[in-house]
Point group: C2
Chain length 277, copies 2
């Protein structure tokens, strides 16, 4: 089998590339899939992006991202739901059936993690059926606990599945991303739980490197540079029945400062060396 | 009851103060307890520190810290065990019965969290009886998962208790520190578990503020400045039967840049406002 058959490059890893450059580089390297982000897609145009990737024979493995569903204020909450419905529409137009959700942090001044998690459930009850109608599955992404206050109150696979399992699997599942869960000794059993329920909607990779940069957003390590045994985690999702794309999503100032084509080629090589081989 | 009756200031919070300045300021403010660190204690002299705090009527609530027990190399491991035995000796001399343990990160090049955790258990089997002989309890501190690779492979109270419960409670228990566990929805039940077993050996506070600084070490928030509901966590340890000191331990570049006496006074005020009142 082609070593890159399951490889997908998340657009954020090489955000210095324009949409046509990204698509061209994937074609040159034999990369079969891309994970896209809403902002660059909107800049290039949703329909235009859909045509570009379709003409290139590229699979869109995920759209990143919806979510930010923790607002208490009713107007803010209504705007968030509207925006998520648009994200579902965009995913359907792009031809992907997976919309990644980053849940959102604590509203300003709030210290109530539990309440915030419940508001996400309320929002999913509205968004799940809408997504299903458009052939899109929502993939709740637990983010590393270091983002719990300002970005995502869902910090573990356990929490993500506790939310997802209130809804049908074809509406709501989870994102399994090594960067966010590698430290968690309960994650392997939770991957099994997710797989048994048909809820592993995407599998993403990034490596854990230190020291973390200020703000801790853009220090995700190139595959093989850090502390995470990628084969071990591929083993867990495989044992759980997952056979889908494996998406590499790196937010890394160092990688963004380099030539994007070179970074994409390097990432494909690392994928083969550290994940597949 | 005196609002500060259970308050203890961890020395690191005001590390700009010399040992005599720290003791004087505690006396002036009516602060009854201090948590000490080995390095400043050694600089001032272990016996001299013991006399200074004893003469001032100050309780030493903890000594920070032992640990760093994950080495694979036999010589490195032997040195770590020796150093921990010295830390126990120092704790006994200082008159505290609690030695806080930070377990250590992954050895260079290793990706094996599970193996590292098992080596900690092996080390505790040697250190626990030694500590008991000196009237000292070891308090495993789970650190926030963002430190899992480079500082502490024990990331949750669950993991800390899984380790501690292999040994008698008067040898090995846990440190409950809000900064490290506030995001974890399982932590309340684990505090109950720890309390039922008599294993809450110390309770420490710091608040969670963002953005995190580079390296994520020195951004622990002053009490009341962040996302953590301190009364909620005091409620959990109280329900679990904990009646001991409440130690405020902040690593914060901003606080360290200020006058240490002013910071200590502010911390005592925040303690009363956000924890006790």
């Amino acid at each position: 089998m082609n070593d890159l058959a399951r490889f997908s490059i998340n657009q954020m890893t090489v955000k210095q590339l324009s949409m046509p450059e990204l698509v061209d580089t994937c074609r040159e390297l034999g990369v079969p899939g891309v994970g896209l982000w809403r902002e660059p897609v909107q800049t290039y145009g949703v329909e235009a992006t859909a045509k570009l990737v379709r003409d290139a024979g590229l699979a869109v493995t995920t759209l990143c991202r919806g979510g930010f569903l923790t607002a208490i204020d009713p107007d803010e909450r209504a705007r968030a739901l509207d925006d998520n419905r648009r994200a579902v529409d965009e995913a359907a137009t792009l031809g992907t059936d997976v919309l990644v959700l980053v849940s959102g942090g604590l509203p300003a001044g709030s210290k109530d993690l539990h309440g915030a998690r419940e508001r996400i459930a309320d929002a999913l009850a509205e968004l799940g059926p809408y997504a299903e109608d458009h052939g899109v599955k929502l993939a709740i992404e637990p983010l590393h606990p270091m983002y719990a206050s300002d970005r995502c109150v869902v910090s573990t696979l356990t929490q993500a599945l506790d939310l997802a399992e209130r809804f049908p699997a074809h509406q709501v599942g989870v994102t399994v991303d090594t960067y966010h869960i590698w430290w968690d000794d309960r994650a392997p059993e939770q991957i099994a739980r997710a797989g048994a329920g048909g809820r592993i909607h995407t599998f993403q990779l990034a490596d854990w490197t230190t020291p973390l940069p200020e703000g801790v957003l853009n220090g995700r390590g190139q595959i093989g540079d850090g502390a995470i045994d990628m084969r071990e985690w591929l083993g867990y999702v495989t044992a759980a029945g997952y056979t889908g794309p494996i998406e590499v999503e790196l937010f890394n100032d160092g990688l963004w400062a380099r030539d994007g084509r070179e970074v994409l080629a390097e990432t494909a090589t690392r994928f083969v060396e550290h994940v597949i081989a």
